[in-house]
């Protein structure tokens, strides 16, 4: 049964790669010519997806908090899966944001001519930090299993596992203890780095004093909650698929509900304060979200399908793993609307009086709707990420290694 849906999903991802390759061709052959964003709305669908992917990495962060701060040791079993998910989502993020750059091959500039005064530079530093933390973290979590698989001559590709285990054939109690120590150390580091990392997403926008909707100390906090919500929902959903244990799913469901309600409260607060401020720039941007042409993305996709229905399911059926997973699935698939609603409305308001009457060109308009090319590129990247995830869970011991008595993440 499980193999069936996995196989079907792999086929879907391959179809996604084929279909999306048209968008990739357009992007690689003609640059940004075929895309709809412009100079007034310079960031579009791909940046929204970038934020979406970065948020999904918060699953591992949440598991670490629950294990070490709230001492829910059972959740430590999800460590390898959570770490692997982080790496796949980071890879997807890296890919889509590279495609958004005008000169992606110049990213080495971050190293040779960095600007420590730029929040974007610090975001890159923290993305690199996430790689530095989660690659060895995953490795030390699955090393024992890699060695075991490497020793299993009957297993297909056992030589590859032997290679990944650096040729090691025995895993001693000392090795286990050492790996526990290492993973615990990396977990502790991941806590402050994670808070800053997820806060830095919000800070990129919040520090811009010319953007009234974003320019608030609350935005980094909202971004942290948004990341925890989407990342927590993702890891709960994956736990249901790969390690369907009620004792794992139910506490995660409670946590997701708590984060969902907190997030909605912060969001409501932001909208309330924004409207009450009566600042034109803020009110106009909020109007775009609430009653603008994409009102349905807020009310139907985000509020109804992505918030109220999941909240109802999580409150009404807290002990039903299937319902918890369904609620989490709804949160994940609708979360792009949240990201788009944070990104676009502030950009889509003229910041100078009279600018609308000056220079007529499609790149100099505040209206933005992602076009087919942009969606196809996003489909390609998502398909690649999903394929990497499915193959990874099949070929790497990220599921098995979590089943046991490890007390670390």
């Amino acid at each position: 049964m499980k193999n069936n849906w996995e196989r079907n999903l792999i086929i879907v991802t391959i179809i996604g790669l084929v279909v999306g390759s048209w968008g990739m061709y357009q992007r690689l052959a003609y640059g940004h010519l075929g895309m709809n964003y412009g100079s007034f709305v310079p960031w579009g669908l791909w940046v929204a997806f970038d934020l979406f992917f970065l948020g999904l990495t918060a699953g591992a962060f949440l598991i670490t908090i629950l294990t070490y701060v709230f001492r829910i040791k059972l959740l430590a079993n999800l460590g390898p899966l959570a770490a692997f998910t982080v790496l796949v989502t980071l890879m997807s993020e890296l890919l889509i944001i590279s495609l958004d750059l005008g000169h992606p091959w110049r990213v080495y500039r971050f190293l040779i001519t960095p600007n420590p005064g730029s929040m974007l530079f610090w975001l890159v530093v923290f993305i690199i930090s996430m790689w530095i933390i989660y690659v060895p973290w995953l490795y030390f979590l699955i090393r024992e299993q890699l060695i075991a698989w490497g020793n299993d001559g009957a297993r297909a590709g056992h030589k590859v596992y032997r290679f990944l285990a650096w040729g090691k054939t025995a895993y001693t109690p000392q090795d286990r203890q050492q790996d526990h120590r290492r993973t615990r150390f990396l977990s502790y580091i991941s806590l402050p780095i994670g808070v800053i990392f997820f806060g830095a997403h919000g800070a990129i926008f919040a520090i811009l004093h010319n953007r009234p909707l974003w320019n608030s100390a609350m935005l980094p906090l909202i971004f942290i909650m948004a990341a925890l919500l989407s990342g927590g929902a993702l890891i709960t959903f994956l736990a249901y698929l790969y390690q369907p244990d009620d004792e794992l799913i139910h506490p995660l469901g409670h946590v997701v509900l708590l984060i969902l309600l907190s997030f909605l409260f912060l969001e409501a607060l932001q909208i309330f304060v924004g409207y009450q401020s009566k600042i034109t720039g803020i009110v106009t941007s909020l109007d775009l979200i609430i009653i603008g042409p994409y009102w349905w993305a807020f009310w139907i996709v985000h509020v109804l399908i992505g918030s109220l229905v999941p909240a109802f399911l999580l409150i009404r059926y807290p002990e039903n793993s299937k319902m918890v997973a369904l609620a989490c699935f709804l949160i994940i698939i609708t979360f792009l609307a949240v990201r788009l609603n944070y990104l676009i409305p502030d950009l889509a308001v003229y910041k100078l009086q009279g600018l609308q009457n000056t220079f007529f060109h499609q790149r100099l308009r505040p209206e933005y709707t992602p076009n087919l090319n942009e969606w196809l590129v996003a489909v390609w990247v998502i398909s690649l990420g999903l394929l990497a995830f499915l193959l990874g869970t099949r070929w790497l011991p990220v599921i098995q290694a979590g089943r046991g008595e490890e007390e670390h993440v």
Binding site: G31, P42, L101, G102, H103, N115, N210, T358, R363
Partner: protein, 250 residues
């Protein structure tokens, strides 16, 4: 009798000011601009001159003329506010750039190194004046029919003008479509390539109302210095603390 004596054209004085400024040490010069909106008639000549001078492609514009309408019919008023890059002394775009591809020169102009810019467009988002635009690689001749021959058709038309970028920043840039500035953020640079050879910026010389005054704002004898001292002077969005080097006269 009774008639005013002919006045010196401000352009002549600005040219003289410029000549004097260029004799100073570069670090002692601080370029500045004053735009007298009472004199601006909204002809957009400065926009066109800038586009022509820098061979700006479609969708890229350094200097627009904002058209503001105030009041209600029949008490309506209209005014024009040319808006180049304001070359802020505290520029938010410079702080935003993650790879130091944009910076403020010692003469106060905010410029971009096209070869460093990664095209993240964060500076566009950070600029309070929407003074930066991204070059998405568009061509005026994209819709021109392709015909054979050296004089007609898309290729010939492109070769005659836009295939060869202007020498912005005094550098020769590759043929359009083969690297920067396509994919970059772009902005007004006070026509540094013209200043270098003793010419005023294109927007200044093309202004038929002499509404744009340019010069060294630290030179007490310059026209721009004199204008900055006017009681009519103001800057756009002063509350943001960006301290523009482009001033306006009410």
């Amino acid at each position: 009798m009774g008639r005013d004596l002919p006045q010196e054209d401000p352009l002549v004085r600005m040219q003289r000011d410029l000549k004097r400024a260029l004799q100073k040490k570069p670090e002692d010069i601080k370029w500045g601009m004053v735009i007298d909106i009472a004199k601006c008639i909204g002809c957009h000549a400065c926009t066109i001159a800038c586009v022509a001078e820098n061979k700006l492609p479609p969708g890229v514009v350094y200097r627009v003329v904002l058209e503001e309408e105030t009041g209600h019919y029949p008490q309506v008023r209209r005014r024009f506010v040319p808006r180049p890059c304001l070359h802020c002394q505290n520029p938010p775009c410079v702080k935003a750039c993650p790879v130091t591809a944009t910076w403020k020169t010692e003469q106060g102009a905010v410029i971009i190194d096209y070869n460093k810019c990664i095209g993240c467009r964060y500076c566009l988002v950070a600029c309070p004046y929407a003074a930066r635009t991204a070059d998405f690689g568009e061509w005026y001749t994209a819709e021109t029919a392709e015909l054979h021959g050296k004089l007609y058709g898309q290729k010939a038309a492109a070769n005659g003008y836009e295939a060869h970028p202007a020498t912005e920043y005094g550098k020769k840039w590759p043929e359009r479509g083969h690297g920067s500035p396509v994919g970059n953020a772009r902005k007004c640079h006070f026509c540094l390539h013209r200043l270098k050879v003793g010419m005023l910026p294109a927007c200044t010389t093309s202004c038929i109302g002499r509404a744009t005054i340019f010069g060294d704002r630290t030179d007490p004898h310059s026209l721009v210095y004199e204008m900055i001292g006017s009681p009519r002077v103001y800057v756009l969005k002063e509350e943001l603390g960006t301290r523009p080097s482009v001033y306006y006269l009410k």
